[in-house]
Assembly symmetry: C2
Homo-oligomer: 489 residues x 2
């Protein structure tokens, strides 16, 4: 039962894979690096998507859909962006199969159906979208354009892991166009805030908000804002990024607008995205050695009701009453009516799936007008009066949401370590992990050398940077503030 998964201390990476498998979230497919998102995993993503979509619409964005394919000539137009993705993209070269004469029922690519121009399966959609925006934008009156797209993208990654890094993944990508630099920067920051709010309030996952060093920026961006979370193995997860793209794509695709003075200017741009990677972050932030732990705001099922020792009419009737009362409060409930499995087996199964609250109903309890309530986060069990059980559970779900955030925040804060020498840096990185707050001389060379020697990268320059004079831990050169290093997923 619960013993089926590897413990975190034994093998963190295997623990993660075990949870993905045993909680029925996803599995590998017949296509290298592509996963199958199973119904329970997809239900979590649906809840993330619906909440984010609501937040995007509340901030004035609308959805649209652009093609899966990018003609090579458009793909290569913005050089930095093209360079960043050229080495890992799937390329369509033909549009037909034909019978293979070498085997009955076999097919082969028809060499006569070669495309004149190859198509890149989108790794991101700036190119196809900015090619389109050229037709949509003439005057400042056409601006801003505030569009988001929910889509699949493909990046031919060599090392993949379910949710965290897959060749195909699901995401949203916002692509906005603005008449001024300030407005575009404001937009990029606004969506950065939306991501941070979503991560903390819905995923119960604390994040550090900051911007990327030049080395770590999105290919084609002038600035990349990021939210960085900390996983339980002390490694960082980049959970969402919002890019100020300057006029780079406008220049590449010749997108100009006439301003109020009738002068032509290049359009200012942002793009921003989060992906199914968030599901990986959610798993790793809260789960334990008994399985998945989910924050109530994103859990597909909030409450499972288990008859003890097994279903009978009296118990099921009471279970139904409780379920009805909870559902009236917007709480998602399931009743386990299976007669063949024992309660202990069921308990372990629901713990594995991370269902926030379990209600056990036994006949003796009913005689006393109580039920047993177990919370998944602390594994605490309580005997709770039936009277008012609905409001009790509602409050308990809020408490679990808050407790998960507090617990993750405590862990995260305990794993931000100020270090002042390179020796200390390496020691803490190896022995404790987590975020290292230290001085850096601001050069790409130093960053690259530290990365080569330790595998740690600058996760971000925090927006709330500690401004203090100091010396770079590596070069000893002067620095004006601390940045955050970590090993990362």
């Amino acid at each position: 039962m619960a013993k089926e998964i590897t413990s975190r201390s034994e093998n963190y990476s295997q623990w993660y894979n075990d949870i993905v498998k045993k909680a029925d979230l996803a599995e590998n497919s017949a296509v290298r690096g592509c996963m199958i998102i199973k119904p329970y995993g997809y239900a979590i993503w649906e809840r993330m998507r619906d909440q984010l979509d609501k937040m995007f619409k509340e901030t004035g964005h609308v959805n649209a859909y652009f093609p899966l394919f990018v003609p090579k000539s458009l793909f290569e137009a913005e050089e930095k962006n093209a360079e960043g993705f050229a080495k890992e993209c799937a390329i369509v070269t033909h549009y037909r199969l034909k019978n293979d004469p070498s085997g009955h029922g076999k097919l082969m690519v028809d060499p006569e159906a070669k495309l004149e121009e190859e198509l890149v399966v989108r790794p991101t959609s700036e190119a196809i979208i900015w090619h389109t925006y050229k037709d949509w934008i003439q005057s400042y009156r056409d601006l801003p354009i505030l569009i988001n797209q929910w889509a699949n993208v493909v990046r031919w990654e060599m090392r993949t892991r379910p949710f965290l890094r897959t060749a195909e993944f699901l995401w949203q990508e916002g692509h906005t166009a603005h008449a001024s630099k300030d407005e575009a920067i404001e937009e990029a920051k606004k969506m950065h805030d939306v991501y941070a709010t979503f991560a903390e309030e819905y995923m119960a996952m604390p994040v550090i908000k900051g911007f990327k060093s030049e080395n770590e920026r999105f290919a084609g961006a002038d600035d990349t804002f990021t939210i960085e979370a900390l996983m339980q193995d002390g490694k960082a997860l980049q959970a969402g990024t919002s890019h100020f793209l300057g006029q780079n794509f406008a220049r590449a695709f010749d997108v100009k607008f006439s301003n109020a003075q009738n002068e032509y200017e290049y359009v200012w741009a942002t793009s921003w995205g989060v992906s199914t990677r968030l599901v990986g972050g959610l798993i790793m932030t809260h789960s334990d050695d008994d399985g998945l732990v989910l924050p109530p705001k994103l859990a597909p099922i909030h409450v499972i009701i288990v008859p003890i020792p097994k279903p009978d009419d009296v118990i099921l009737q009471k279970a139904q009453e409780i379920a009805d009362a909870l559902r009236a409060l917007g709480i998602s409930v399931q009743i386990d009516k299976d007669e063949n499995k024992r309660p202990g087996f069921k308990f372990a199964e629901y713990e594995m799936k991370g269902i926030p609250v379990r209600i056990g109903i036994g006949l003796r309890d009913l005689q006393n007008n109580v039920v047993e309530v177990a919370r998944r986060d602390t594994k605490e069990k309580m005997s709770v009066p039936l009277d008012g059980i609905d409001v009790f559970i509602q409050n308990l779900l809020e408490d679990i949401q808050q407790n998960l955030f507090n617990r993750a925040l405590k862990y995260r804060d305990e794993h931000i370590t100020r270090v002042d020498t390179y020796e200390e840096f390496k020691m803490v990185l190896e022995e404790k992990g987590g975020f290292l707050s230290c001085h850096w001389d601001g050069t790409a060379e130093t960053e690259e050398l530290i990365k080569q020697e330790t595998k740690a990268t600058i996760r971000c320059i925090p927006l709330r940077q500690e401004m203090e004079e100091g010396q770079c831990i590596y070069s000893g050169k002067p620095s004006k503030g601390r940045v955050i290093f970590a090993k990362a997923y």
Copy 2:
């Protein structure tokens, strides 16, 4: 203004393209045959998707996500299915671009990054899904599997039209697995019913329910159930199909289960799908020479409020009050605060966009405590008291929904013509169009000859078939019931 679009009588096909363009629904992209779904068009699709998703969940289905790519060896496993799609599929052969030595900033496919096995961009997902189901199904206890997927698919069509036929399109595809033939047939029929209900109750688009002749079946199906709608040019639109797949995919992918008697059997299957093509059907069913007409249940904006002749404080305050009252009833409202455009221009624009109800507010009207309400479907204008305006509009929207369905039903019923000779068949087909109800000898040969000579195909054998003895209009051979022929999109 309204004169910007071609009339239906002048050029139906151009009329459709004009509406797609002028109502800002979609446009062609830089990728051959792929469209860009613009925000207003996508908002209509979102409403369709949300309602369908609700109906799928209410009938016990869950969502999941399978890979975009199908390895060639899986693609070819079910031979009929493979044959049906092999000639029109996009094929990924490489996974990397590299710098093209012939030009600065140019990229080329890296010949060293050739895939060992080509990947087909899914035209439909039976192959990848049934390959997966093999691992998921051992016993009858694992059945049924009731999964749906929202995804993009690619079919390399030669002639494309926005929404109606595009190389890439968005759709949902249900893929279910069952322990018995009866259960699978029941599932296929259930989803056929869901599609018909959706088409008639939400799209206000009447459909004929039936099943396909062998020629017109989905490649790999034993039976295809279809809903067929009639467009205003007298051509049919296949709007949704639900397939009983028999054990064809289970055989191709060797998916067996042990039944209650511990005997192994092949699993029974269905698949069913509707796509963004429905948006095309919606446009063509209701729209007129002034632009788009939308049924309220799928309209992104139900009511537009236009100050006359232009916004001022008193009018805007009243507009806000009306909007608040309508929103409280779940009605979607926008207030036009633009000060530069004239009311006549605005009216034409909102007619073009098919907004079901327009409320005009002028100062003189306000003195009399009335506003002007115009309905898009009949273009009727009414002076309506402010008192109770919210409930009036709510009822009006219901009335518009019903009226659109009735109007479309009347047109459709007037265009079902019983014909008994081939001469009559050809004459009605040319002069009147629509559905032709006639006798057919049941052979694929006759169907094919009629298609070659007239371009008409059997749209369906209606579930409510008129059972009567007759003679095939083409061969004169005996027939036991009438089938529905039409030219189709």
